[in-house]
């Protein structure tokens, strides 16, 4: 049943609450606040629903009056009438709404009536569909019923598993349908299809009982078969995983030097410098020469946004008619009006290397927030959409929490432990290079840094870090190759605590987000050492893959963690920013999909090339 229906203004005042009006119990926790913080303010207002604890929430806006209508119900129930109810409530409430009034007690009766109506309508629809499909179905042919019955029943069984309220009749009735929906919606849709199909045929009826019995038997058989198949698949997947896990181990152990021509070559191919202190004299201390890290330089913001002079062709046609309307009368924004402007914006965003689905979701969210709004006089639709999109982008790119690392380092210092930063990412994005840049920046603020070489896989990784450590004159903790990175990290942190080092920078090996055993190893490293900051290193050149990388990384970190409160990605380090001219969309995709702020931007290959993200300039570049 519907737990609560809440009506509140965008400024935060609750206008009417069904709980209070009808005297029902209050909600547990505060799902509404969670909805606002993690969905509506994150520009995901176009999502279908939001779930928190065991509540599911659906919402709708009245953009003109600035009202939000939220319906809360138990997650396990699939209430169909919620969308209808929200639309009806919005309609009725906007008629009695007055900006000066703050109490709407009389709305309780209207709401009860609406609720009853909508419920009755939903019941009717359900019953009519059942009635139609419970009418005896013709046997198309025995062969056809068989496989179709199986498909239908497997879906019906799946629908039952989904916990919807599908009754037993629907199982048998679903035979002969083609859709593959597993929600309750799907069950009803299936019945509809069944009804339609049955209507189109004129075959006489075969014995009803046998019809329902036959497919049911097949169905019963198939449910168990399906379950067996499913568990088999799971076992196979697990086996593959373990196989993959053992494979690299055996491969590593078995690698021997290749010997050509039967000549035993005694020459070592390891040209790394001996790691003794004499190596220090070879390289100079670069800290003095390179100057100030760009993190500390403030960027000049060019003066306020220039109006775009370039207008696309299709927009010009809409210009005249919209101009007319905006002067003439009240122009309420409809979805169809917004579509061309939004499509142009979406294309522009995608041309700036924003991932396709992110651009799509953003445009939908902006549409949701503009629909039904009255256009101000003398404003074009495209400029309204542009401003709304600018606000949305600014909101997304503004960090949710403070990204003052120096403050956090000082706080950790007071507690007597080092501040641990772990750099993760896929192969070749620039983790080791940017780790050195971050170390350089921290050194400039008089903090003592230790490097931990936990990339024990790639040849030359430890030497690379050793070279950086020598140039920056900071200690490095390394254990060579082919050691467990999690253990190396733990020992590095212990060593740093002993030496009273302020920051520990942990370098990990690059790994693909799909590689299960490597992701598991990463998760183990993070869970074992509980770092203060998990920094995801992503390159600005990446396109749609950014979305996949970040979602999979976060997902694996959440799934494979032993503790209930798993550590996810806390920040993003965007690299190779100097290689993209103005195609800065990767920053937006990454921030949108993960919610983590961009803490650093790497814009070159020397120690000083590390900047902060300038939100306003990125927004301007994206919408140019």
């Amino acid at each position: 049943m519907l737990e609560e229906l809440l009506i509140f203004t965008r400024g935060g005042l609750i206008l009417w609450s069904s709980c209070r009006a009808l005297g029902a119990a209050a909600l547990k926790g505060s799902p509404i606040d969670a909805l606002i913080r993690s969905c509506l303010l994150e520009e995901r207002s176009a999502d279908a629903s939001f779930s928190q604890d065991n509540y599911a929430l659906k919402w709708t806006f009245h953009n003109d009056l600035g009202l939000v209508f939220v319906a809360v119900y138990q997650k396990i129930l699939h209430l169909l009438y919620v969308d209808d109810l929200l639309a009806a409530v919005r309609r009725e409430f906007s008629q009695i709404y007055d900006p000066k009034r703050t109490s709407y007690d009389d709305f309780g009766d209207i709401f009860r009536q609406l609720h009853r109506e909508v419920e009755a309508r939903a019941e009717e629809m359900k019953k009519s569909k059942q009635a139609l499909s419970s009418r005896p179905q013709p046997a198309l042919s025995q062969k056809k019923v068989g496989p179709k019955g199986r498909r239908g029943d497997s879906r019906g069984a799946a629908a039952n598993k989904g916990g919807s309220g599908a009754k037993d009749d629907s199982d048998g009735d679903d035979s002969g349908n083609k859709d593959q929906n597993t929600l309750a919606n799907g069950a009803f849709k299936g019945q509809e299809n069944g009804a339609r199909k049955e209507n189109s045929l004129a075959r006489p009826v075969v014995v009803k009982g046998k019809e329902n019995g036959g497919p049911k038997d097949n169905g019963a058989f198939d449910v168990s078969k399906l379950q067996k198949l499913r568990t088999n698949k799971k076992n196979v997947a697990a086996d593959n995983g373990t196989k993959k896990l053992t494979k690299p181990d055996t491969k590593k152990k078995g690698k021997q030097d290749r010997v050509w021509d039967d000549k035993p070559s005694n020459k070592k191919l390891d040209f790394t410098d001996p790691a003794d202190e004499r190596g220090d004299e070879v390289t100079d201390n670069v800290a003095v020469i390179e100057g100030e890290s760009m993190m500390d330089k403030d960027e000049d913001l060019s003066s306020d946004s220039e109006d775009e002079e370039v207008e696309d062709g299709p927009k010009k046609k809409g210009w005249f008619s919209s101009m007319f309307q905006s002067i003439a009368g009240n122009n309420v924004l409809e979805k169809s009006d917004l579509q061309p402007a939004l499509k142009a914006l979406k294309d522009r965003l995608m041309a700036k290397n924003v991932a396709e689905e992110i651009a799509e979701k953003l445009c939908e969210s902006v549409a949701a927030s503009l629909e039904g709004k009255k256009l101000g006089s003398f404003t074009r639709i495209s400029s309204t959409v542009q401003t709304a999109m600018e606000d949305a982008l600014l909101r997304i790119l503004t960090p949710r929490r403070s990204i003052d690392i120096l403050r956090d380092v000082h706080a950790a210092k007071e507690r007597g432990r080092p501040y641990v930063i772990v750099f993760v990412g896929v192969n070749g994005v620039g983790k080791s290079t940017n780790l050195a840049k971050v170390a350089y920046w921290l050194l400039q603020h008089n903090l003592s840094v230790t490097l931990a070489a936990c990339d024990t896989f790639r040849s030359g990784a430890v030497e690379q870090l050793r070279t950086h450590a020598r140039r920056l004159q900071i200690p490095i903790f390394e254990k060579g190759y082919e050691k467990d990175p999690a253990v190396v990290a733990r020992e590095a942190i212990q060593e740093a605590t002993r030496n009273k080092s302020d920051v520990v920078l942990v370098d990990t090996a690059g790994r693909m987000q799909d590689n299960e055993p490597l992701m598991r190893a990463l998760s183990k490293l993070i869970n074992l050492n509980s770092p203060d900051l998990v920094l995801f290193v992503g390159e600005a050149l990446v396109g749609n893959d950014a979305v996949d990388q970040l979602t999979k990384f976060n997902q694996k970190l959440a799934d494979l963690s032993a503790v209930p409160t798993s550590r996810l990605i806390d920040g993003i380090l965007l690299t190779k920013f100097d290689t993209i001219d103005d195609k800065v969309g990767a920053a937006l995709s990454m921030v949108y999909i993960s919610g983590a702020p961009v803490m650093f931007v790497g814009c070159g290959q020397s120690y000083t090339d590390l900047k902060k993200l300038n939100v306003k300039s990125i927004v301007k570049t994206l919408l140019k």
Partner: protein, 256 residues
């Protein structure tokens, strides 16, 4: 193009002849009326922009700003609030003063959302502020101490706030709860946190002096009395209506 020019010339000539045909008094009167209106508008705009009378309610998300806003306006927080997505902006006479005899000047109060993503809205409103009320959750203070101190630090170091010596009231809200901290404790903790922030921030932005202003005296521990603008601390509770400290602050700084 030439056609347009020619047509324009014809029109100009027609207008000129029409003007010549009018009696001269009418023209003078018309010109005088226009001049007078323009003069009046200029004078009016001069008067308006002299004194800002906006009070800005700021603070972290969940500290009770929207409740406070409605208490000031209507004397009750109605049915409760949720996280604000937009600012609440209204000009009204304080509820407690509605019964007062005589003319009471209305106050313009802006309640800015506290959510971190909506921080740019604060920057829009601050230049017009006559006073800033920083609302702190006294009950849940320790967990949000750092974030509150950072927010307060940002406000206190804005160039507009320091230059115009905008007074700040730190309002410890929710003191009706049993576990609420005292205002002296909150004041001391905030001073300590801002002191720490001062050190770490000054380390970074040696080039960033456009907006940030040096707070306090270098070398000494930070104290609110070191600020150029007046900072006071008060306590109360939004939900019970105990907001007299805020009303006093408003009356002090927005002339009635």
């Amino acid at each position: 193009m030439d056609e347009w020019i020619r047509r324009a010339e014809v029109w100009v000539r027609q207008a000129e002849s029409w003007i010549r045909r009018q009696p001269p008094e009418q023209i003078y009167i018309a010109a005088a009326v226009v001049a007078l209106t323009v003069l009046l508008l200029i004078i009016a705009s001069c008067f308006k922009s002299s004194k800002p009378n906006t009070i800005v309610l700021s603070g972290l998300s969940g500290s009770g700003k929207t409740t406070l806003f409605y208490q000031l306006r209507d004397g009750s927080s109605h049915q409760g609030t949720v996280t604000s997505m937009e600012e609440n902006d209204d000009t009204f006479v304080l509820h407690s003063e509605q019964e007062r005899k005589g003319k009471v000047k209305p106050v313009h109060v802006v309640d800015v959302p506290g959510h971190a993503r909506l921080k740019p809205k604060l920057d829009e409103v601050l230049p017009k502020a006559a006073g800033v009320v920083f609302v702190v959750d006294a009950q849940d203070f320790l967990s949000s101490m750092q974030a509150a101190a950072e927010y307060l630090y940002d406000i206190l170091t804005k160039a507009t706030v320091v230059k115009k010596k905008v007074p700040v009231l730190i309002f410890c809200n929710k003191t009706d709860k049993v576990t609420a901290h005292s205002k002296e404790f909150i004041k001391k903790q905030l001073e300590k946190e801002i002191n720490k922030l001062r050190e770490s921030r000054n380390a970074i932005s040696s080039a960033d002096i456009t907006d940030e202003v040096q707070l306090g005296v270098p070398g000494e521990a930070f104290n609110f009395s070191q600020c150029q603008n007046k900072v006071v601390v008060a306590e109360g509770a939004g939900t019970t209506g105990n907001v007299s400290a805020v009303e006093q602050f408003i009356r002090e700084h927005v002339k009635a």
